[in-house]
């Protein structure tokens, strides 16, 4: 994962590099051509000026010959040779490379040459001129160095610009991102994005505002629906229950009919319980519980054990209390009671007769362990209605409620299978 700016910078820099590399031969070609043209022009001027100056001098032919030989000796780079006739129809222009004639170090120099026939006193002479021109590698090296400097300038400039831009231009984006990270659909905290003058970010903020507002309202409706539906179901369930109570008082009832009514009664109690649990879940999710009460956790555990003692006795389950430290926590008392009861009842229900349950409350960790055979599927365990046992009692919501209560009180509930024991632990 790389930041967006460095992602765009890299191809941009590669492109700049390619352009600059291409520019090196182009610059060289341009500079060299201009230089050669200028030198050619210079050579031509020198040749013409020489012939003109010779012709202007009112001296004899002999003297001219002497002057020309003197010229050839002292004038560097030029040479005048008498021709019997003009055998050069066209001027010769070329580049040659040779060692410096009068220097000790053996360095190849490049020269631009012109061979031209000039006429002095109407006699043809071959005029040769050589002018030093910068070597190819020299030119390329200088252009290359300058290009490299520019490239370094662009890279450092971009680097500095990027850092400043990411600080200023991307600031609204970062703000939005931070707000989103802290947003929780469940707690329904209001989310407010800062206004920005960047079109794209403002568009993003607006879309997010719309999306969140929509989601919040859908979520609310859905939760309200669960709560309302459960609430509405209470009345018909109550009517059914009461009618069954009346039916059971009927003197004409046979034992068979009574048993049917009793089975209906049990099923009805279960549906009432499922309904109540759904309502409880909806209420927890809607944060309808005061979470600021001070709870003596160990006291609630003791109460719960007392209430459930007869059910332990009945299944002949040994209850082992490993530790029960004085523990005071913040939370909701009735929710905590439900959590403890559900954990213990769950253990009682799923422990075979003559089995054992051990509980401990130590260093703010409450754990309930009961003997078992096989590790349970953790993914399904805390899901609503995903009953892992074949027993048909229970609402299928017990562990979901434990999970939801823990979440609402910011506790952490975990399941482990250790030494043939199912261990549920709640970190307070």
């Amino acid at each position: 994962m790389k930041p967006l700016l460095s992602k765009t910078t890299k191809p941009f820099l590669i492109f700049v590099l390619i352009v600059l590399i291409i520019s090196i031969p182009v610059y060289y070609f341009m500079v060299d051509t201009i230089w050669q043209d200028e030198l050619d022009e210079h050579n031509e001027i020198v040749a013409e000026k020489t012939s003109y100056e010779f012709n202007r001098m009112k001296i004899s032919d002999e003297e001219i010959q002497r002057n020309i030989s003197l010229w050839n000796q002292i004038q560097p780079g030029t040479n005048i040779i008498k021709l019997p006739y003009n055998n050069l129809k066209k001027d010769l222009i070329f580049t040659t490379e040779k060692y410096k004639p009068f220097s000790a170090d053996k360095k190849i120099e490049r020269y631009r040459c012109l061979k031209k026939v000039i006429y002095i006193k109407n006699e043809p002479y071959l005029f040769t001129i050589e002018t030093n021109i910068e070597e190819t590698q020299g030119t390329i090296m200088i252009i290359g160095i300058i290009t490299l400097l520019f490239f370094i300038l662009i890279v450092t400039g971009l680097f500095i610009l990027n850092r400043r831009l990411s600080k200023t231009i991307w600031k609204p984006f970062r703000n939005t991102l931070d707000r989103l990270k802290n947003f929780n659909l469940n707690t329904q905290t209001h989310i407010e994005f800062e206004n920005t003058d960047t079109t794209e970010f403002e568009e993003l903020n607006q879309s997010l505002r719309k999306l969140i507002a929509h989601n919040v309202s859908v979520y609310k409706t859905q939760k309200e629906f669960t709560e309302n539906a459960s609430h509405e179901l209470q009345t018909p369930l109550a009517i059914l229950k009461n009618k069954l109570d009346l039916l059971m008082q009927n003197a004409d009832l046979t034992e068979k009919q009574y048993n049917i009514a009793e089975d209906m009664n049990k099923a009805l109690s279960r549906s009432a319980r499922i309904n109540q649990n759904l309502l409880l879940l909806a209420k927890i999710e809607n944060s309808q519980f005061d979470q600021s009460e001070i709870i003596n956790f160990d006291e609630l555990v003791r109460q719960s054990i007392e209430n459930l003692q007869e059910h332990l006795d009945q299944k002949n389950i040994t209850l082992q209390i490993n530790a029960l430290q004085n523990t005071t926590v913040n939370g909701n008392t009735s929710l905590t009671e439900i959590l403890i009861n559900n954990l213990l009842l769950n253990a009682i229900r799923h422990t075979a007769g003559n089995g054992s349950i051990s509980i401990s409350l130590n260093n703010a960790v409450f754990s309930v362990a009961n003997s078992g055979v096989q590790k349970l599927n953790e993914d399904l365990l805390f899901k609503r209605f995903s009953k892992l046992s074949t027993s048909n009692s229970g609402s299928g919501l017990g562990l979901a409620i434990i999970k939801e209560i823990s979440k609402s009180q910011k506790w952490d509930v975990q399941y482990n299978f250790v030494d043939n024991n199912h261990v549920f632990s709640v970190k307070l």
């Binding site: 009461n242 009793e262 009861n341």
Partner: protein, 225 residues
């Protein structure tokens, strides 16, 4: 004994009245807030069953009015809302009991019985049936003036039966009464059988007649003339 049922669900009110009429209770109905206010102003009841979610007002207001007028009617709130706040508030204002829908009629009858007894016999609240005497205030039971030791649950069961004389009470109903919220989470209701058996034995051993009968194999009935 006069009872006012303030309940907007007609079927529910009818069932309650039918069950209670067997006990020689005289039931009157009020299905709206205004109707209820009108009735409590004029008449006096032994017990008022109050649904707090009424179409035209909050039932708690009725309760407040009763207390303001210093009426002695017993009040049991019956609510579809299992909201702890409502329960605490209701009891604070002065309701005698609180019951969440759905409930068993036998449960309601037992509560009404207790409320009325408490209101009317505030000093010596003793129920007598031949040789059996139950002191609801001291929570003691004696047979032929001999006190017998009952556990909390056994005493609770006995009062429940007394409040539902000659009625068939099923095992699952008793289970719900005894273990409250988690009865249906338990695989079997044998613990009810254990408690009832102990109660029967203790009463019989002390020389009490067999008032508590088993009916239809799994149901119970307290017989009394």
């Amino acid at each position: 004994m006069k009872i006012l049922i303030i309940e907007d669900e007609v079927e529910l009110a009818k069932s309650i009245a039918e069950y209670l009429s067997e006990e020689n209770y005289l039931c009157e109905f009020a299905s709206t807030f205004s109707e209820a206010m009108g009735k409590i102003e004029v008449f006096q009841y032994d017990c008022i069953l109050l649904d707090i979610t009424l179409p035209d007002g909050n039932g708690l207001k009725i309760l407040e009015e009763l207390k303001k007028e210093q009426k002695q009617d017993g009040v049991i709130i019956i609510s579809a809302k299992n909201a702890l706040d409502d329960k605490i508030k209701g009891l604070q204002i002065g309701a005698d009991d609180y019951l969440t829908k759905p409930f068993h009629l036998s449960e309601l009858a037992a509560r009404i019985y207790s409320v009325i007894r408490r209101k009317q016999f505030s000093n010596t609240n003793v129920v007598t049936q031949n040789e059996l005497q139950i002191d609801l205030l001291a929570k003691t039971v004696s047979v032929s003036n001999e006190i017998i030791a009952l556990t909390k649950k056994e005493f609770d069961l006995l009062v429940y039966f007394i409040g539902n004389k000659n009625r068939v009470i099923s095992k699952s109903t008793l289970a719900e009464h005894l273990s409250g919220d988690f009865a249906d989470m338990l695989e079997n209701h044998d613990f009810v059988y254990a408690h009832v058996k102990n109660l029967k034995k203790k009463l019989y051993d002390a020389g009490c007649d067999h008032y508590l009968k088993t009916v239809y194999g799994t149901g119970y009935k307290w017989e009394s003339l």
